[in-house]
């Protein structure tokens, strides 16, 4: 189904087609290509605003996920009854924040891939509020990124690596 990419910012030049290619690869690795997904690229001001409104944290961040299915068990793939429910939700990418924290030897689009993987895992019910939950999420991210690395030759590390 549809992957919709939106670029609401001008802080960082963005190659939409390249980002799309990366997100499609992550969707395939997670087995959720048949679900609609929105990826919205925003700057620090916007992601900080969303972070403040929805998480009460007045600070920019790298990614915020808004799941369509809010009570999904970690790792479960939704089984919708109706075509309109083939939707995972939206990922807001703080592309300016990600760019600012990107190290010199890191490829920006690789970091975007890692961040999208983390965001997509959140849409599929994974969380990292407890160590046990974090373990599950970390393993899932690692599995996806290893599959991507097999195709691209890169060695991508999960975003949740240092969270616990």
């Amino acid at each position: 189904m549809s992957l919709v990419v939106r670029n609401l910012q001008r802080a960082v030049p963005l190659r939409r087609a390249r980002l799309r290619e990366k997100v499609q690869a992550v969707r395939r690795a997670l087995g959720v290509q048949r679900f609609d997904l929105g990826v919205v690229c925003v700057d620090n001001r916007k992601i900080q605003q969303i972070n403040r409104i929805y998480r009460d944290k007045n600070t920019p961040t790298d990614v915020l996920s808004f799941p369509f299915y809010e009570s999904l068990k970690a790792g479960d793939i939704p089984q919708p009854e109706f075509p309109d429910d083939y939707n995972l939700g939206d990922i807001f990418l703080g592309v300016e924040y990600i760019f600012q924290h990107c190290k010199e030897n890191e490829d920006y689009y690789d970091i975007l891939t890692v961040t999208v993987t983390h965001g997509l895992c959140h849409l599929l019910g994974f969380t990292h509020s407890t160590e046990a939950e974090w373990q599950k999420m970390y393993q899932k991210e690692k599995q996806v990124l290893e599959e991507l690395s097999r195709h691209t030759g890169t060695r991508l590390q999960p975003l949740s690596r240092d969270l616990f």
């Binding site: 990419v5 939106r6 670029n7 609401l8 910012q9 001008r10 030049p13 939409r16 087609a17």
Partner: protein, 278 residues
Amino acid sequence: MLPLLRCVPRVLGTAVAGIRAAAPSLPLLQPASRPCARPFGLLSVRAGSVQLPGLLRPWGPCGCGCGCGGLHTEGDKAFVEFLNDEIKEEKKIQKYKSLPKMSGGWALEVNGTEAKLVQKVAGERVTVTFNINNSIPPAYDGEEGPSEGQKVEEQEPELTSTPNFVVEVVKDGSNKALVLDCHFPEDEIGQEEEDQSDIFSIKEVSFQSTGDSDWKDTNYTLSTDSLDWGLYDHLMDFLADRGVDNTFADELVELSTALEHQEYITFLEDLKGFVKSQ
């Protein structure tokens, strides 16, 4: 030069209701002291400049004593006074006294309400054309009172011009232009709610001959309404590589708003001169 006939005109709606408030209601034809004032339908516009046949010939100098032969009603006087104030206010709030420059080396040509931005990028000529007429979306209903908690003396939101714009790309030595019709989102400007629309979007894409002055409807036109999103993203990247990106779109809005305001003030001045007719 391809005309902007493909651009969908936007309804001006209540956008003008803000600072550009309606004239106070006065009787339109409050006659001057002398009983020679003509009915509205028999107005002579420029007194003394043409031979008017029959009934349209002025009966004599205007009742207000200016001697111009035009119709000067009490309503006209009030209108001119209103316009004086309006012009003063508009000039006071004018953000740019001269048109803002676009970054990225774009050359600007203005012909009335139509503006053209031109740039040569390594063997290609890129032209962006837009018209400021009907380019201000309705931002709010000016007739509503202030919302709860809003101070009465708070500034009304600025009117912003977001015209449709047409991008033409011509490669050197070719008579074929790739033409992309682009729009700004239709939602109301100034809202603080989350907005997930791109800053601008491509609506239609077509090839046109550079030699033809008219848009050819017989050339295939790609509509992006049901377009593959991957192809759409490539088109947006194509434009970005030629300087038509989000920064460009934001600056175009500034330029268009400034030009529209300038034209509006000029129009008010012309209108004042016309009504005064002296």
